[in-house]
């Protein structure tokens, strides 16, 4: 039962990822990215990590990507016309890609040669345990991150503020 669903959504996420790169129009690319997020959320759900799946949807698809789409719509960005490829990209593109993929495969083989297979529904960590570990074991990183976000918000406010003389 789980395997066909997994294969379906893995395929959808890869297809959306390819479409994200290939699409000419920014809105189409952004929507493909939402498709990737959504299908990855389904994969989390299959693994049993329901909380992570919901957070993935709420934070990425529901908040961040809405802002992206909002900005694209506001700027009224049109479809991009393809420019001719430069000679370095023609010359080195495919060889560099092959080297990169080979390097990736080599690193995975060296550092994680025999990881056990992940089973469907195995990760049953609920929201309660996650919250508890965030507020006990990982309290310092959590608070530091929140201060970082606060600084980012302050920076945005200062940049966007109108000068009042």
């Amino acid at each position: 039962m789980e395997l066909p669903v997994f294969l379906l959504f893995a395929f959808i996420s890869i297809a959306c990822g390819v479409s994200l790169v290939v699409q000419r129009h920014p809105i189409a690319s952004a929507l493909s990215l939402i498709g990737v997020m959504g299908s990855i959320a389904v994969l989390y759900l299959l693994l049993g990590a329901e909380f992570i799946a919901a957070v993935q949807l709420i934070v990425y698809a529901g908040a961040i990507m809405v802002l992206f789409i909002f900005v694209i719509m506001l700027l009224n960005a049109g479809a991009e016309s393809p420019m001719g490829k430069s000679w370095p990209s023609r010359l080195f593109g495919i060889p560099l890609l092959t080297v990169f993929l080979a390097l990736l495969a080599y690193l995975i083989q060296t550092y994680a040669p025999s990881l056990p297979n992940v089973r469907f529904g195995a990760m049953t960590t609920g929201a309660g345990e996650l919250g508890r570990s965030l507020f006990t074991k990982y309290l310092l990183p959590f608070e530091v991150t929140s201060v970082l976000v606060l600084i980012a918000i302050l920076g945005a406010v200062v940049l966007a503020r109108k000068e009042i003389d």
Binding site: L45, L57, A61, A63, I69, M73, N76
Partner: protein, 425 residues
């Protein structure tokens, strides 16, 4: 997606035949439940629109729809026929793929979230124990939030793909408004979760059962250590904005934007947006009922006769109908002499159904759930008939400068009092 029934199937697999039987039973019951809920939801959607027109008409001293069927009761049917028979016209200047995708997204996201709502306790039907409600994820609240937050794409895309200034303004306004009001809504919703300490909607309702001093219900809006009245009001106000209803219906403000994001839509595309708005309303009211008003729990205990409230209400309705039809009929409405007493007898018969002991444990909780949800839906319509529309800067100032700080204060107060009261077992 896992439901409670699904996990039961795995535990019961002692012998092959019995597990097969249980699995079949689970499948069958789920199919029946889905059919019933889908049918009831779609009928409610159609008739909610009729009720809204009737209530608005009576607020404005009019009669409302009266031509199709007795008291305009067949008007929704006529509307559905009209919308489906119209030509689905696609303007030449739109982005066709996104133009067609947008209403589909809007209506799907609006209809899906109903599957998380628990309508009643677990009951026994023909010896098979099942929950009244479709599914019960242990992150039910988050699921509903996630699905509704994806729903905004429908409106934003419709506005953009229509390639029309009014539509684009509507889409932009709606996405800005929905992002802004999602904040106070989510924070307001966290406070009852702190009291109850769980994310499953069924557990949330179960925790609100029981009564203080034998009479005051333990609903979230009354629950100690900190009654959630403020967060209930914040949630309700934000859900008006999230569903694009008056007084926050700026995305479709007629006097400024023609019809806002759905200006270019006709026939079924328009019907999808229309359905999505009403389905979102139903989801919002169901969520307020479940989170704040104790779901299916009666407002006062059964010892004081809360089981007889539906019977008395229906009998009173029957008495009024029969009186209006037989004793004091309005001049010039001959049909009322027949239709009103028949409807009255129907109401009296329904009252008797609520007295049947076998059906009582199913019907009474569903009655209370429907009564609370229905009352909130009435409030939605009432407000639409009462308040004018906000200006856009007022709308944004209201959420960012008032609702958002207030919801954070409420959350801090709740957290402090819950921490002082000690951890729940």
């Amino acid at each position: 997606m896992r439901s409670t029934g699904g996990s039961k199937r795995h535990t019961d697999s002692d012998t092959d035949s019995s597990s097969h039987f249980v699995a079949m039973n689970f499948f069958l019951i789920s199919l029946i439940k889905t059919g019933v809920v889908a049918g009831a939801l779609l009928t409610t959607l159609a008739y909610l629109q009729w009720i809204e027109r009737k209530v608005l008409a009576h607020i404005q001293m009019r009669l409302g729809p009266y031509r199709v069927g007795p008291h305009g009761l067949l008007q929704p049917l006529a509307d559905v026929l009209k919308l489906t028979m119209k030509e689905g016209y696609i303007p030449s200047h739109v982005n066709v793929f996104f133009y067609l995708l947008a209403p589909f997204l809007a209506v799907t996201c609006a209809l899906i979230s109903i599957c998380m709502i628990p309508f009643g306790p677990s009951v026994e039907i023909f010896g098979y124990r099942t929950d009244l409600g479709l599914a019960d994820l242990n992150i039910g609240v988050l699921f509903v939030l996630a699905v509704t937050s994806v729903g905004v794409y429908g409106i934003a895309l419709a506005g953009w793909s229509s390639n029309n200034k009014y539509s684009l303004m509507g889409g932009l306004r709606s996405s800005a408004q929905m992002i802004s009001y999602e904040l106070p809504m989510t924070i307001a919703l966290v406070s009852p979760l702190l009291l109850i300490n769980d994310l499953s909607l069924r557990t949330i309702v179960n925790e609100q059962g029981g009564y203080y001093l034998g009479i005051i219900p333990k609903w979230s809006i009354f629950q100690l250590p900190f009654p959630q009245l403020i967060s209930f009001l914040i949630f309700l106000i934000s859900s008006f904005a999230e569903t694009n209803r008056v007084p926050f219906d700026l995305p479709e403000a007629e006097n400024e934007l023609v019809a806002g994001f759905h200006t270019e839509y006709s026939s079924l595309g328009f019907a999808c947006f229309f359905m999505a708005e009403y389905a979102n309303m139903i989801t919002a009211t169901c969520m307020s009922t479940v989170l704040f008003l104790g779901g299916w729990h009666a407002p006062f205990p059964a010892e004081y006769g809360s089981d007889f409230v539906p019977v008395l209400l229906l009998l009173a309705a029957a008495a009024v109908l029969i009186y209006q039809g037989v004793v004091d009929p309005k001049a010039g409405r001959k049909w009322d002499r027949f239709s009103l007493p028949v409807a009255g007898l129907g109401a009296a018969g329904l009252a008797l159904v609520f007295l049947i002991p076998v059906l009582k444990p199913i019907l009474i909780p569903i009655f209370w759930f429907t009564a609370k949800t229905g009352f909130l839906l009435f409030v939605f319509i009432w407000i639409r008939g009462t308040l004018p529309r906000f200006r856009y800067d007022q709308l944004m100032n209201f959420t960012w400068k008032f609702l958002f700080p207030l919801s954070i204060l409420n959350l801090l107060a709740t957290a402090l009092l819950v921490a002082l009261a000690g951890e729940k077992s």
